[in-house]
Symmetry: C2
Subunit: 202 residues, 2 copies
């Protein structure tokens, strides 16, 4: 059986990453999503095990000690991280799995899973990024400026990724990611067993 592959997906606020991934999972329900472990409290619209596993600080720190995280981060007093086991077990079952993570997390995962394929989602232009981050015009100029500057800091690190998908048209962006996933299964590494099979029989 073919092993599944790990895809790291990042993109700044304004890239439309969440909408793209929601559409991708609706279209390809066989693709797994890596659920983050976090120590902050559950919010009203959240559900345990949907996007996050809500765990205690003690348990999170034990996972750090046991090297059970592919990456983690502390933000405003809470831990956020990607547990290793579900990712490894998905690929061993032959499932592809997507890890949605920021540029720092992507960097850490790449060091641990050297075969992971990384995809950066980009806004189509600076003007469109600014437009998307301005929202409905209810934010102050200062907040918009801060969002923009943080998005640009992430975009500077897009060069660390294997693939760059531009989200100009949502459907095209989703199809681009599907093409990247499928074509990676056609790489020599994933197809090697077929060569071996044909030669073995001769």
């Amino acid at each position: 059986m073919n092993k599944g592959l790990v895809f790291i997906v990042s993109g700044p606020s304004g890239s439309g990453k969440d909408t793209i991934l929601a559409k991708l999972f609706a279209k390809c329900p066989e693709i797994k999503f890596s659920i983050s472990s976090i120590t902050r409290g559950m919010r009203e619209n959240e559900k345990e095990g949907e996007k996050y596993n809500f765990i205690s600080r003690g348990k999170f720190e034990q996972m750090i000690k046991d090297d059970e995280l592919l990456e983690y981060n502390e933000y405003v007093g809470n831990y956020y991280g990607t547990p290793k086991k579900p990712v490894i077990s998905a690929t061993e079952k032959g499932d592809d799995i997507i890890i949605e993570v920021d540029v720092n997390g992507a960097h850490s995962i790449r060091n641990k899973l050297t075969d992971a394929v990384s995809i950066f989602i980009m806004p189509p232009s600076f003007a469109e990024l600014k437009n998307r981050l301005s929202g409905r015009g209810t934010e102050t100029a200062e907040i918009i400026e801060k969002r923009l500057s943080s998005a640009l800091d992430e975009i500077k690190r897009a060069t660390e990724y294997d693939y760059v998908v531009v989200n100009d048209d949502l459907d095209i962006a989703v199809d681009d990611i599907i093409k990247i996933i499928k074509s990676n299964h056609l790489k020599l590494k994933s197809q090697k067993h077929i060569i071996d099979e044909v030669l073995e029989k001769c």
Copy 2:
């Protein structure tokens, strides 16, 4: 403008490579095909400039001297080769170009064009390869054995390629190649200008 990419396509007799490529060019007429230069005489069903440019031995030897070939080979007294100029000029115009070539030719081209993406087309199994090479049962066992052995020698070198496409279902194989072509345009190298554009405007 995005530069075009070079795709090297190989596959043994029985892989169905020619049928796949014919269907691919019918489906994607924007993709260019590298026309080989050869010194043998034109056959009845052939046309100058279609699959081959028929040139003199003297001219071919001059091309070798001038390093105008990406690869070449001498077979039963005739030269066969891939001229460099049309390939480079296609990619500079933004066109993708496919070079259909054997495993030795692919090896030479990879050394000269390190960015070229190589695809090996495989039969789905040994049994099916044998079946396809047996043809309509009009060949002697000796000829079939020779074809099979030469196909297996090529398959042994499939591990030199970036991608392996299995031709079990013709339409799937054609789509696989299209996915490989499109996804390579999403690689960082081809998308770098978009990152630069967004950051330049900020």
